[in-house]
């Protein structure tokens, strides 16, 4: 039964011991995974990071190190920090969109209330000119102009 070396030991051209700390997280069928983390962090540092962690946390740690290494290789200047910045920007964008829409809703609901009040007042005075009524509708429908106040 031939024992396969893990990707780390293959890469480092050494024997893969039975208690190799890398073997569980860097299997031989994915050599690129170890190549990436080794390029950014170095095998020795990876080993130290994994060793201080409890065994049940090491898989997640290896995965996150791989993710970070990929980010850094893809973006050598900013790495993961570039993604964090993008996400912060996205959060600001969406928050401002939400605020804009909430302001529109507030504006529309205020306007609807004043329309209703006006209509009730006009209903009390039945001899109001219909042309006056349509002019009021034009004013209340000019959202484009009024709502820019909120932008």
């Amino acid at each position: 039964m031939a024992s396969t070396r893990c990707a780390a030991c293959k890469y480092l051209r050494r024997r893969c011991p039975s208690d190799c700390i890398f073997s569980l997280y860097f299997p031989s069928n994915n050599p690129q995974r170890f190549a990436y983390v080794h390029k950014i962090f170095g095998a020795s540092n990876i080993g130290k990071i994994l060793q201080v962690l409890p065994v049940y946390r090491r898989a997640d740690a290896a995965d996150s190190l791989y993710y970070e290494a990929r980010c850094r290789i893809k973006d050598p200047i900013y790495g993961c920090v570039g993604i964090i910045n993008l996400l912060h920007q996205e959060i600001c964008n969406v928050q401002s969109q939400i605020a804009k829409i909430q302001a529109e809703i507030a504006f529309l609901s205020n306007h609807a209330q004043s329309d209703q009040t006006q209509f009730q007042q006009l209903n009390i005075a039945p001899n109001v000119d219909p042309i006056f009524l349509s002019e009021q509708k034009c004013v209340s429908n000019s959202f484009d102009d009024s709502s820019t106040l909120f932008y």
Binding site: A61, D63, I77, I83, I84, L87, E90, I98, L108, A112
Partner: protein, 170 residues
């Protein structure tokens, strides 16, 4: 030209700080912690190779991001700054849901506004009143093509199960 005090990296590595030391501009001797953290996570040799591959004007930013990542990894040895990414992505998703809800609210509101005059005051309607539903055209396309940008960010990486379902940055 005063005494050439070695940079923080050469001090830590206990070597002579050459005039063209690649670390010197970014790791001054008055902040030894900065280099020690980067060295602990990435290693001086790897940092040197990374900086060498970059043009001069981009190295300062690269060092800043490496320091950030190293600090994150020291604070959270399991997830590092990937924990922050996961947390922020959750935030983006929640906000996008809120945005979708707000957009549907305003759409309902506008539809109600359109329906109300029909039942109460026929003189107010015109033949092609339809455009009032699309007053805020710039909002509707966003609502209709609702897409999460975090998929764009993870596009080349694939959102694998390794991030777990409840990875919250703490």
């Amino acid at each position: 030209m005063g005494g050439n005090s070695p940079c923080a990296s050469c001090k830590l590595l206990r070597r002579r700080c050459a005039k063209e030391c690649i670390f010197a501009p970014y790791f001054p001797s008055d902040d030894p912690h900065k280099f020690s953290i980067v060295h602990k996570i990435f290693g001086a040799s790897n940092v040197s190779k990374m900086l060498q591959e970059l043009p001069l004007q981009q190295r300062a930013d690269a060092v800043s991001s490496l320091v950030y990542e190293a600090n994150a990894r020291v604070r959270d040895p399991v997830y590092g700054c990937v924990g922050a990414i996961s947390y922020l992505q959750n935030q983006v998703s929640q906000l996008q849901m809120q945005l979708a809800v707000a957009q549907s609210e305003i759409l309902c509101f506008q539809m109600q506004q359109e329906l109300a005059p029909i039942t109460t005051s026929p003189v107010l309607l015109e033949g092609d009143d339809k455009p009032s539903l699309f007053l805020h055209q710039n909002n509707l396309p966003q609502f209709l093509t609702y897409s999460s940008s975090n998929n764009v960010i993870f596009d080349s990486f694939k959102k694998e199960s390794f991030l777990g379902q409840d990875m919250i940055f703490s």
